[in-house]
């Protein structure tokens, strides 16, 4: 029996730093692919390049997940040990495999728009299932409001747009990132208000407690500052947005387990 314990660099939670990093990688790169298919399908070079990033994000993220398992060598049990569609973890594992294969295909070969849109649906499932995974738990910070999928999808659009913008400065992307960042901020505020009665310790940990550095770091450095800088220094704004997207995933994952 081989067990691996990849230590959480910042805590002793069941789902911690590595899970948050996976959420960030898959969410950001998946979001970039989604945006390129939605808005830039005439630029096949960009679609294929973002498919490669998303493939790498999904592959590295899935690697982190496997290493974080208590029994990493049994990861095939996820796929080959029966049919468990009620388990979001099981569905998510299949989404990862299918989206990974689809993204690699889009990158490697010229594909039709229909194929690219089909893979985009898989990428959206990878981005979105992570929120549903958290909602299936018994943790009130994750499931007392139905807004977590909105938060993760809006954040994927913001961070994915920022990632594209680093390589592909385009005015349309700037408007897109601003719009989705505004949605993201509103959804986050609503989520905190909605979950506060059921998940008071988690919300307080974010606002004034041990997770305040991540929460306010996101609000100030990863969200407010990029909005301010968007028209002044787009590259810096994009980088800060990416930092913010990680902080968001991190404090959401941690606040559920306070």
């Amino acid at each position: 029996m081989i067990t691996v314990n990849l230590p959480n660099p910042m805590g002793e939670e069941h789902w911690g730093f590595w899970i948050a990093l996976y959420f960030f990688l898959a969410g950001t790169t998946g979001g970039a692919y989604l945006l390129s298919v939605l808005f830039y399908d005439k630029d096949q070079g960009l679609v294929r390049r973002s498919a490669l990033w998303a493939f790498l994000g999904v592959a590295v993220g899935a690697g982190l997940l496997v290493i974080d398992l208590g029994q990493p060598l049994r990861f095939l049990n996820l796929l080959l040990n029966g049919f468990h569609p009620a388990s979001v973890m099981w569905l998510g594992s299949w989404f990862l495999v299918l989206a990974g294969a689809g993204l690699l295909w889009v990158y490697l070969r010229p594909t039709s728009r229909g194929v690219q849109q089909g893979v985009a649906v898989l990428a959206a499932l990878v981005v979105g299932y992570t929120a549903v995974l958290l909602m299936q738990t018994a943790k009130p910070f994750w499931n007392a409001s139905p807004l977590l999928p909105w938060l993760f999808l809006a954040s994927a659009a913001t961070a994915g747009g920022a990632l594209l913008r680093l390589w592909y400065p385009h005015e349309k992307l700037s408007r897109l990132v601003i719009a989705s960042a505004l949605v993201e901020g509103a959804v986050l505020a609503l989520h905190l208000i909605w979950t506060y009665p059921a998940a008071t310790p988690g919300v307080l940990a974010l606002l004034v407690g041990p997770l305040a550095w991540a929460f306010w770091g996101f609000v100030v450095v990863g969200w407010g500052l990029p909005l301010f800088l968007e028209r002044r220094n787009a590259a810096l704004a994009a980088l800060l947005t990416l930092v913010g997207a990680f902080l968001l995933r991190y404090f959401v994952v941690m606040a559920g387990q306070v």
């Binding site: 029996m1 067990t3 691996v4 314990n5 069941h14 789902w15 989604l34 939605l38 808005f39 398992l69 208590g70 029994q71 049994r74 990861f75 049990n77 996820l78 040990n81 029966g82 468990h84 009620a86 388990s87 979001v88 973890m89 099981w90 594992s93 959206a124 979105g128 299932y129 929120a131 549903v132 995974l133 958290l134 909602m135 299936q136 738990t137 018994a138 943790k139 499931n143 139905p146 807004l147 977590l148 999928p149 909105w150 999808l153 809006a154 659009a157 349309k172 408007r175 897109l176 719009a179 989705s180 949605v183 559920g256 387990q257």
Partner: protein
């Protein structure tokens, strides 16, 4: 609703003296290692269940509004739910119902993903870092499937714990509540009849379940996930269409102005 012939345990809080014989018997029979603990100002010790503590008695003391002191105990452990969130969320089928409605984990299949840990509203499933799998109360399946009682029930000196078929245990619980109400415990109630499809561990309580930190009206994991998928679907459609509308309408307006 559990099958009338299923295995079941009754914990009668009105008969419990808080001696922890059940807690110790559980450790001994299941060969669970001792926990390093400290005095936290409560008899509840260890303060919560772990991979090596499958029963932990919780103690509640204070003054009632009328000035009477109270000292109440509850047996914290797995409730063996009929619609068990741990079973639903398990991606490999390792966590499953066995004959008689008992929920156990198959250590040879478990991958240590901790979905079940996050899903349990009773905090009864825990991850064993050394072995990379989760552990919890098995209702002493090795004993009951051979015609014996669970170790905790056998050890109880005051008949606060009773083992039998679900039909017998439920009838006994309802009879005890009737007797307690006659004796003036107006708030006496049975806990576990409605929760998660009916639990195979029933509690007779003299106070409202919230007095013992027991969750009421727990949503089933299937329903939580369904809400999540619905919300994610709406979010993806609304965000995709909304961003497309915002970005391209601006483009169309600009195009018209030229």
């Amino acid at each position: 609703m559990p099958n009338p012939k299923d295995y079941a345990i009754l914990f009668d809080a009105s008969r419990c003296i808080g001696c922890k014989a059940c807690q110790v018997a559980c450790k001994q029979w299941n060969d669970l290692e001792a926990e390093k603990t400290e005095n936290r100002g409560s008899y509840t010790n260890p303060p919560r269940l772990t991979a090596h503590t499958w029963i932990s008695m919780r103690y509640y003391e204070g003054l009632r509004p009328d000035g009477d002191p109270y000292f109440d105990f509850i047996r914290g452990s797995c409730m063996h739910c009929t619609h068990a969130p741990c079973v639903v969320s398990c991606p490999t089928g390792a966590m499953a119902h066995r004959e008689g409605g008992v929920v156990t984990v198959d250590e040879k299949t478990c991958i240590g993903c901790r979905s079940c840990v996050q899903a349990c509203p009773y905090g009864a499933v825990h991850f064993d870092e050394a072995r990379g799998v989760v552990h919890k109360c098995t209702m002493c399946y090795d004993r009951i499937s051979n015609g014996d009682q669970p170790a905790c029930v056998k050890a109880c000196p005051t008949d606060a714990l009773t083992f039998g078929t679900y039909q017998e245990i439920r009838a006994l619980a309802e009879e005890r509540v009737r007797v307690l109400k006659e004796r003036g415990y107006a708030r006496a109630n049975v806990y576990g009849l409605a929760e998660l499809g009916g639990t195979h561990v029933l509690y007779v309580l003299t106070e409202h379940p919230s007095q013992y930190d027991l969750p009421k009206a727990v949503r089933e994991a299937e329903k939580r996930a369904a809400t999540g998928w619905l919300s994610a679907g709406i979010a993806a459609a609304a965000l995709g269409a909304g961003l497309k509308f915002i970005v391209e309408r601006r483009e169309a307006l600009k195009g018209g102005g030229q």
